[in-house]
């Protein structure tokens, strides 16, 4: 009997496909998310839009909160650790968290290195903005990739940019000759073996979800049509006027993402969406997506 294998780690991500993973900060929100049909919840100290507004160091969720969330729901519980903070990750593993998100939404703990994710039995999800970043994280042992978008912005434009970058990067690799791959790996800053694998298979070796800026059912369906296999929704739910109703609608839209009639039906009468921000007006230092490399 084996535990913690890559197949088991990727396997759980396979089970989450077509679903919505919702950011929650406490047990009450977790219950609302589960009742709305979330496939998993993501525990964090503050939702991204509050981190953006209030500033300060954003850390792993308090242990007590994580335990309360685990006790409140039967779906998988994920939690975020800071980039490079392998001790937060060790604590999350000890707590029995089902997936660890080494996340740019929290304040990075290490400016040079990400966590060695092979050292853990619990699987990791990591963010990326393009194919090279995705492959560096997979090379470190991530079992699931999510495009970063711009967390807490309520603006889908960055999520779209990152998903398009990954998808077109993959397509490009499939058109290259064998002799071009080493130079391509060098240019991408990505492991050669992964570059070669993708050039042969035309897909990532792990699932690819979307995060950062999803605020409406249409946003979720847009990311699914662009190639995401599931979506993470952060501030978009609990910063909206009616979280339960909006959460349910986003779940429905993620399943029926190819069906405009269904999308119209589920998008009706949801109350106010979160107020978004124009990401092009943000200063470089205010962007969360540039954390990690």
């Amino acid at each position: 009997m084996e535990v913690g294998t890559l197949r088991l780690k990727v396997g759980l991500a396979e089970m989450l496909k077509g679903g919505v993973i919702m950011d929650v900060t406490n047990a009450e929100q977790a219950k609302i998310a589960e009742d709305a049909g979330a496939v998993a919840v993501m525990a964090l100290e503050r939702v991204p839009s509050d981190i953006r507004r209030d500033g300060g160091v954003a850390r792993m969720s308090p242990v007590k909160k994580i335990r309360e969330i685990q006790a409140a729901v039967s779906i998988p519980v994920m939690a975020k650790c800071r980039i490079g903070h392998f001790v937060e990750a060790q604590i999350l593993e000890a707590l029995g968290v089902d997936y660890i998100d080494e996340s740019e939404v929290l304040t990075p703990a290490d400016e040079h290195f990400h966590v060695d994710k092979f050292a853990f039995k619990v699987p990791f999800v990591c963010g990326c903005r393009d194919l090279g970043e995705a492959l560096r994280r997979i090379g470190e042992g991530a079992a699931l990739i999510r495009t970063k978008g711009e967390a807490g912005s309520g603006n889908i434009v960055e999520a779209v940019r990152h998903m398009r970058a990954v998808v077109s990067g993959i397509k490009r690799l499939t058109t290259l000759g064998q002799e071009e791959l080493m130079t391509e790996a060098k240019n991408l800053g990505a492991p050669y073996e992964l570059v070669r694998w993708i050039s042969q298979h035309g897909m990532l070796p792990v699932p690819n979800f979307s995060a950062g800026g999803i605020a409406t059912p249409a946003d979720a369906a847009l990311m699914m049509q662009l190639g995401a296999q599931a979506v993470f929704v952060g501030s978009g739910i609990f910063k909206s006027a009616d979280p339960a109703v909006r959460a349910r609608a986003i779940v429905q839209a993620t399943t029926h993402f190819k069906d405009p009639d269904m999308l119209a039906k589920v998008s009706e009468d949801l109350g106010e969406a979160m107020a978004g921000i124009e990401t092009s007006k943000l200063k470089e230092s205010e962007l969360l997506q540039t954390r990690g490399w």
């Binding site: 089970m15 779906i75 998988p76 349910r248």
Partner: protein
């Protein structure tokens, strides 16, 4: 003409099931709406989150359509979350289910993700006893089997794959391994139900 098997595609790893069916030469189609059940002669209910699947099924009236499908003698194969949805009773916590197979399923019965495991199990899928690779991910356990239920595979003496009439369930994920014997077995059930 050979059979066409539907794979419930509301959420979960439905695409991997379709890939296995493709490898053994069986036609398949995604089922996202109840009326699509009319086009298929068997249905796979994949792994995913059973609470999510249940909500999506109820939101779009899948339950009566599945009851009709089952009553018509069309085979259904549920893996992991699919097993939970097909069980007569569900524990830990208790939740609604279709009740098409007389078993009691306990959710997340082996623990959280770090306790998920891969192992060899002993299966008897009509070709004699054989060891097959099995992947258990936050898997359910079959806590009770009704008298009409046949045990098809065991792990440490516990039943992990079972059949009652036209309903087949597995607590593990045959779609995550290269071994297609479970899908072959189900395709056989669908063929004999169609002829």
């Amino acid at each position: 003409m050979d059979v066409k098997i539907g794979v419930l595609a509301l959420q979960g790893d439905f695409d991997l099931h379709r890939q296995v069916l493709g490898r053994i030469g069986v036609a398949s189609v995604e089922v996202r709406k109840p009326e699509q059940l009319d086009e298929v002669s068997g249905l796979i209910m994949p792994g995913g989150e059973s609470t999510t699947l249940l909500k999506l099924m109820r939101a779009w009236d899948f339950v009566p359509a599945l009851e009709k499908f089952h009553a018509a003698g069309k085979p259904i194969f549920g893996t992991c979350a699919g097993l939970i949805l097909l069980a007569r009773e569900v524990e830990h916590p208790s939740q609604l289910s279709l009740g098409f197979i007389d078993i009691t399923a306990e959710r997340n019965a082996y623990g959280r993700q770090k306790e998920s495991f891969e192992t060899e199990i002993e299966a008897d899928l009509g070709q004699g006893k054989a060891e097959i690779k099995a992947i258990f991910i936050r898997a359910p356990r079959i806590r009770r089997l009704g008298p009409g239920v046949t045990r098809l595979a065991e792990f440490r003496g516990e039943c992990v794959m079972a059949r009652e009439g036209t309903v087949l369930v597995a607590a593990f994920h045959p779609e995550l391994t290269d071994d297609a014997s479970a899908h072959q077995y189900f395709a056989g059930m669908v063929r004999s139900a169609t002829t």
